[in-house]
């Protein structure tokens, strides 16, 4: 059900997203003023500052926003699909597969596009592997999917540890950065925006069915939802969103788990509201975290995954305590 307070929430989050983007454009090792940012928007210049903005800050900010949005909707979908509040985008082993791909690429000395491709290939392999095992005997149940995912995840974890312990110190540094989530190498392009938009539109079309599925698979079937088709769509959609996000930014933790819960606690339980809000809050949360990651100890950078946890944990606990005491 959608009420005035939900429109208000979407409005607030839109404004918050704009502020987070502005904040991100202004933070970093080179000081930029608001005037430069606004003049660049309308009248691109060629000063150093303009170049920093155009070639570094704006792409990185957009990467952060897109990644955060993808992780947050993927988290929403996983939680409904598995009807488990602990579900996050990585629970079914997608990030593990991507990590093994990425780490192997680093080990072999590959970087840039090869590394992203390796990560994406690893993620896709893991998606198919988990689905193949869970589905082997015809029917697949959510419990089976969850167990398979967790087991495959653990398997990837072991492989990651082998790669870490057998690599040279130099490689280990970049591997750890990748594992904690890092936006410094990230590149998003029109395909990523298209994917996020598809996620939003598709999600809104399915939103009512998601509301029903939140009450359980039998109830959903009783209310006319074709859950076999819906589950397939949800599994593959959430997987592709996660695989894409992980490929862009490594395994940034916390966004996919906590953003949906925070919004539910704030009253956005209906998926017609929850999905758009998740994109906005997930996106702006990661934008802010990334801004802090590159400015807190500048010129050194922190992995953004560390910052998401450092801001996210206390904020979430605060919201949780406030809503419980009501």
């Amino acid at each position: 059900m959608i009420g005035t307070r939900h429109y208000l929430l979407i409005g607030i989050l839109l404004v918050f997203s704009c502020f987070s983007i502005l904040f991100s454009l202004l933070s970093g090792s080179v000081e930029l003023s608001i005037t430069v940012v606004f003049s660049e928007l309308f009248n691109p210049g060629s000063e150093l500052e303009n170049q920093v903005l155009r070639e570094i800050r704006i792409p990185r900010t957009l990467s952060a926003f897109t990644t955060g949005g993808l992780l947050a909707i993927s988290g929403v979908v996983m939680q409904v699909l598995l009807r488990n509040p602990l579900a996050d985008p990585y629970i079914l082993g997608i990030s593990g597969g991507a990590a093994v791909g990425a780490l192997s690429a680093i080990l072999l000395g590959a970087g840039g596009i090869l590394l992203t491709n390796a990560a994406f290939a690893g993620a896709i392999f893991s998606i198919i592997l988990v689905f193949g095992i869970a589905n082997k005997f015809g029917r697949w149940s959510v419990t089976r999917l969850l167990l398979t995912g967790v087991v495959v995840s653990a398997g990837w974890g072991a492989v990651i540890n082998i790669l870490l312990t057998t690599s040279s110190t130099n490689n280990v540094q970049s591997m750890l950065f990748w594992l904690m989530g890092d936006l410094s190498q990230s590149q998003v392009h029109v395909g990523h925006y298209a994917l996020l938009s598809t996620g939003l539109v598709g999600g809104l079309i399915l939103a009512r069915s998601l509301n029903v599925l939140s009450r359980g698979e039998l109830v959903a079937q009783g209310l006319g939802v074709n859950i076999n088709r819906l589950r397939l769509i949800l599994y593959f959609a959430a997987s592709v969103f996660t695989a894409t996000a992980v490929t862009v930014a490594g395994s940034v933790g916390f966004v996919g788990l906590v953003i949906p819960h925070t919004l539910r606690l704030l009253g956005a339980r209906d998926h017609r509201v929850l999905l758009p809000c998740s994109i906005l809050l997930g996106g702006s949360f990661l934008v802010i975290a990334d801004s802090l990651a590159r400015s807190l100890i500048a010129p050194q950078q922190l992995p953004v995954g560390v910052v998401t946890a450092v801001i996210g944990v206390p904020t979430f606990i605060f919201i949780l305590r406030r809503t419980i005491s009501k």
Partner: protein, 255 residues
């Protein structure tokens, strides 16, 4: 108004035969009781009728059309089920949950229609949930949750109500009350119901026709008078059951 026809249905689960060649027809405005001991197949039978479980042989026809030919959404406008398992709880309020009962009827992807709100509020009122409507599901007692599930089914407004243990978790007053309200809904809409229950006396108060499941796929099916008696019930439950006549109804109890 709908007609549900079960024709020579044979159903087994994990090699165990639950019923063999079961045939009966639920006409509009009929109330059927489904009795049998634990594991006799009451829930499985209800799931079969709702198209949620496959069966070995036989046919289930709704208004002369095979149930398998209906889409899930079409079927949900005709047949509604109260499940034995509660509503899983990702957070939601009572009002939001009961409103989900309108899902098979909604027209717009985004807008909730005034009709849907009105039907939902009537259902909340019917089952004494109006005051709880902004409460979260996980703050409710078992009986309150059961009433939410029943109100959701009532908002769904199907022509055939399949109830799996409707009196679960309900106190003695609500057991009667809820069924009275459902009964008057049925009468108003010419709808029918099939209710699986362990409460023989409650069923005998509200149902006119009965299916009694025995072991090894045997069953009895017919009017209350033919099915509900000491010897049939004792055989079905494998336990001595006696009847006492009161001025309102015959009561059954185990010795």
């Amino acid at each position: 108004m709908s007609r549900l026809e079960i024709q020579s249905l044979t159903l087994s689960i994990a090699e165990k035969l639950l019923c063999k060649d079961l045939s009966f027809t639920i006409e509009a405005n009929e109330c059927w009781g489904l009795l049998g001991k634990n594991g006799a197949g009451k829930t499985s039978l209800i799931h079969c009728i709702a198209g949620l479980r496959e069966f070995d042989t036989g046919e289930i026809k709704l208004n002369d059309r095979n149930v398998a030919e209906y889409s899930r959404a079409e079927l949900a406008r005709e047949i509604g089920i109260l499940f034995q398992d509660g509503l899983e709880t990702l957070p939601a309020t009572v009002l939001e949950t009961v409103m989900l009962g309108r899902h098979p009827h909604v027209q717009s992807l985004f807008k909730d229609s005034n009709d849907d709100f009105e039907i939902t509020h009537n259902a909340l009122r019917d089952f004494s949930l109006t005051e709880l409507c902004h409460r979260h599901l996980d703050s409710l007692s078992g009986g309150e949750k059961q009433r939410v599930a029943i109100a959701m089914l009532s908002a769904q407004s199907p022509n055939i109500f399949l109830l799996d243990e409707p009196s679960n978790h309900l106190d003695i007053a609500f057991q009667v009350n809820v069924l009275k309200v459902l009964n008057s809904t049925l009468n108003k809409r010419n709808a029918s119901m099939l209710m699986a229950t362990h409460d023989i006396n409650l069923a005998s108060r509200f149902c006119d026709k009965f299916i009694l499941l025995f072991e090894h796929g045997e069953f009895l099916c017919g009017d209350k008078k033919e099915v509900l008696n000491q010897s049939n019930l004792s055989r079905a439950y494998d336990c001595d059951i006696q009847a006492i006549e009161t001025d309102k109804q015959t009561l059954f109890f185990p010795i």
